[in-house]
């Protein structure tokens, strides 16, 4: 006769919904539910004014039989992603700010929560968009609007005593905010949480040293923006951010503040800032700590927290995760860690059974608390687990089968492998940033192209593959 515990075990094995929901899915669900709340007119007006922009198609993990069409789809999506932020989502945005009209400013103050005129510290217009910086409850706030719609806002709380000295010819960059406009709720949540952690650190005033990053997905094709604001020394008359695509975004500077924003976000995007230029009476030159700031921007973000700080005084790297992993695989920055107890139960059971958590895990210094899970729809999940000596990817099918592959650290090659699942061949793995497709070869010379999603690829194939390669835009081939 079955014991109670065995009976319960059978029941748990029979769970038809043994899965987890990713941050991205919850974000989307929250946006949908909020929209529904607005439809029934039950949401306070202040919650509503998020404009839901046209969303760009997300990658579908298409079947592999139509390799050519998969490639075509990927190319098209790539173009959309690059162009959406400037042409569709923020039409009319200008790189140089202008002074907002009286009515524009009045609308922005109203939309941002009845901001008093005396609380304003800076305001600017970029085409039809108006951004203001103001103080409330003794804290600086930043808000970006479009007509009667608030696109995004945040509070930027400066560490006590870290106000820039009057007369200094430098700026203090407390933060760079990335916001996904179509998912403002998630964005604000991430920013609020991160900010609390950021300002427990001491950022040296003399260096442009701290960069804040939000942890929500930046590369999923939703409309995104990057906002910067901070204090500027009195000698500073101009601040310009040079973006990777050549755009020069001029900040609004005055009264000890600077303020700017631009469409697009993400450390690998065309709109990442690569230089900061400061203008003083002596002319325009690279900001003294521009390079340090940029190193900070590129430096691997913390795993558990989500901002990047780089300065001699601050070492944010979590021991146990190889910095190159966080740098080269952006999913560890754009996706939130998944709690181990949220993993599908069968995967949780399977990992220790395979010795993953002990033998291999110990050798590679795996940190399961830093694991990221990415859904591939009906195909299942990939769990990516970083360590200080290597990286593992584990596959979990929807019905509980599993497979996995671990590799020691090596410079930029495909971490991946193949296996068998229900008579089909499985290819899965992880590739560094910049590799958007994986080519799977077969013995007879045929090739199929598998799209990469959040650095990961997964496909099931009828025939046994003989090799996997991937090429980035620069033509470098990973084998």
């Amino acid at each position: 006769m079955l014991e109670d515990s065995a009976l319960d075990e059978l029941m748990r094995d029979a769970d038809p919904v043994d899965r987890l929901w990713t941050t991205t899915e919850v974000d989307a669900a929250l946006a949908r539910t909020l929209h529904r709340l607005t439809e029934v007119d039950e949401t306070p007006a202040r919650l509503i004014p998020l404009t839901v922009h046209r969303s760009v198609s997300r990658w579908a993990f298409a079947g592999l039989s139509a390799g050519a069409s998969v490639l075509a789809a990927v190319v098209v999506v790539g173009v959309l992603l690059l162009s959406s932020s400037t042409t569709a989502a923020f039409a009319g945005w200008t790189a140089s700010p202008s002074r907002p009209t009286v009515s524009q400013l009045a609308a922005a103050r109203a939309v941002c929560g009845e901001v008093r005129a005396t609380a304003l510290v800076a305001a600017e217009a970029r085409g039809p968009y108006v951004a203001i910086a103001y103080t409330r409850d003794g804290r600086p706030w930043q808000c970006i609007t479009h007509g009667s719609t608030r696109l995004w806002d945040t509070s930027t709380q400066y560490p006590p005593g870290e106000v820039i000295k009057p007369g200094a010819a430098s700026i203090y960059l407390p933060s760079i905010h990335h916001a996904v406009v179509g998912a403002g709720v998630a964005a604000m949540k991430a920013l609020n949480r991160d900010r609390a952690k950021l300002f427990r650190e001491k950022a040296p005033i003399s260096r442009i040293a701290s960069v804040q990053k939000a942890i929500f997905a930046l590369d999923t094709g939703r409309d995104s923006l990057t906002a910067v604001a901070g204090s500027a020394g009195r000698a500073v008359t101009g601040v310009t951010f040079l973006l990777r695509d050549g755009t020069r975004v001029k900040a609004t500077v005055g009264r000890g503040w600077y303020l700017a924003w631009w469409p697009g976000a993400g450390s690998t995007s065309a709109t990442e800032p690569i230089k900061i230029l400061l203008t003083t009476a002596a002319g325009t030159k690279l900001a003294p700590d521009s390079a340090a700031y940029l190193r900070g921007y590129y430096e691997p973000c913390l795993v558990q927290t989500s901002y990047c700080v780089r300065s001699p005084a601050i070492n944010p790297i979590v021991p146990g995760i190889a910095p190159s992993i966080i740098r080269d695989y952006s999913l560890f920055r754009t996706q939130s860690p998944v709690a181990v107890n949220q993993l599908p139960r069968k995967l949780r059971v399977w990992l220790p059974r395979q010795g993953v958590t002990q033998g291999t895990g110990a050798r590679l210094g795996l940190d399961f608390s830093a694991a990221r899970a990415v859904s591939f729809g009906r195909l299942g999940w990939i769990l990516a687990v970083p360590g200080n000596q290597g990286l593992c990817t584990f596959y979990s099918s929807r019905n509980g089968g599993g497979s996995g592959v671990c590799n020691p650290l090596a410079s930029r090659y495909i971490h991946g492998g193949t296996g068998q699942q229900n008579g089909r061949y499985l290819v899965l793995g992880i590739v560094p940033n910049g590799y958007n497709t994986v080519h799977v070869r077969f013995a007879e010379g045929a090739t199929v192209i598998v799209p990469v999603k959040d650095n990961l690829y997964l496909a099931t194939l009828a025939n046994q593959p003989t090799g996997v390669t991937s090429k980035n835009a620069a033509g470098h081939v990973l084998r």
Binding site: D13, G113, N399, G402
Partner: protein, 183 residues
Amino acid sequence: MRVPGPGSSDRSARFEELFRAEYGSVAAYVSRRTEPDQVDDLIDEVFLVAWRRLEVVPAEARPWLLAVARNVLGTHIRGARRGRALGVRLALNYVDQVMPSPPAVPSELLAALATLGEKDREALMLVNWEGLSPTDAARVLGDRPATFRMRLHRARARLRQALERENDPDGAVGVNGEEAANA
């Protein structure tokens, strides 16, 4: 969205926090009991109720939300004039529809589960699938904890009997094994 200013912003923030913390539980609960194409609407219904009644949502929100979900599902089923009991039969449909590969679910077990009364079945599902403690599961069903424990005990006994009827003489229940590691 976190909104500056008093009043509604706190409420919005609380709702958002609740949503993010409990979405997975509500989604799983609903997914286990209805067809995939109904899931999103029903989850929305649950959180709509939560929004309206945010002031009475307890700190331990999950049992409260699942009780709401149970009511919403019940209304949905009645509204659709299906006249069928809520529960495993639908879960079976779900498995058939969304899992193209051979289901890992032992059909004998679900068949046995389907022979139980609705509340008995729900008791087993709440404890094993929703992962609730007996006390929390009792809240979902509106039972006293002692009543619920008795119900759970009885449900296990009935499931055991039903399994013995369903199973082959060896009593083996097949569960798909995991694939070998490729590490």
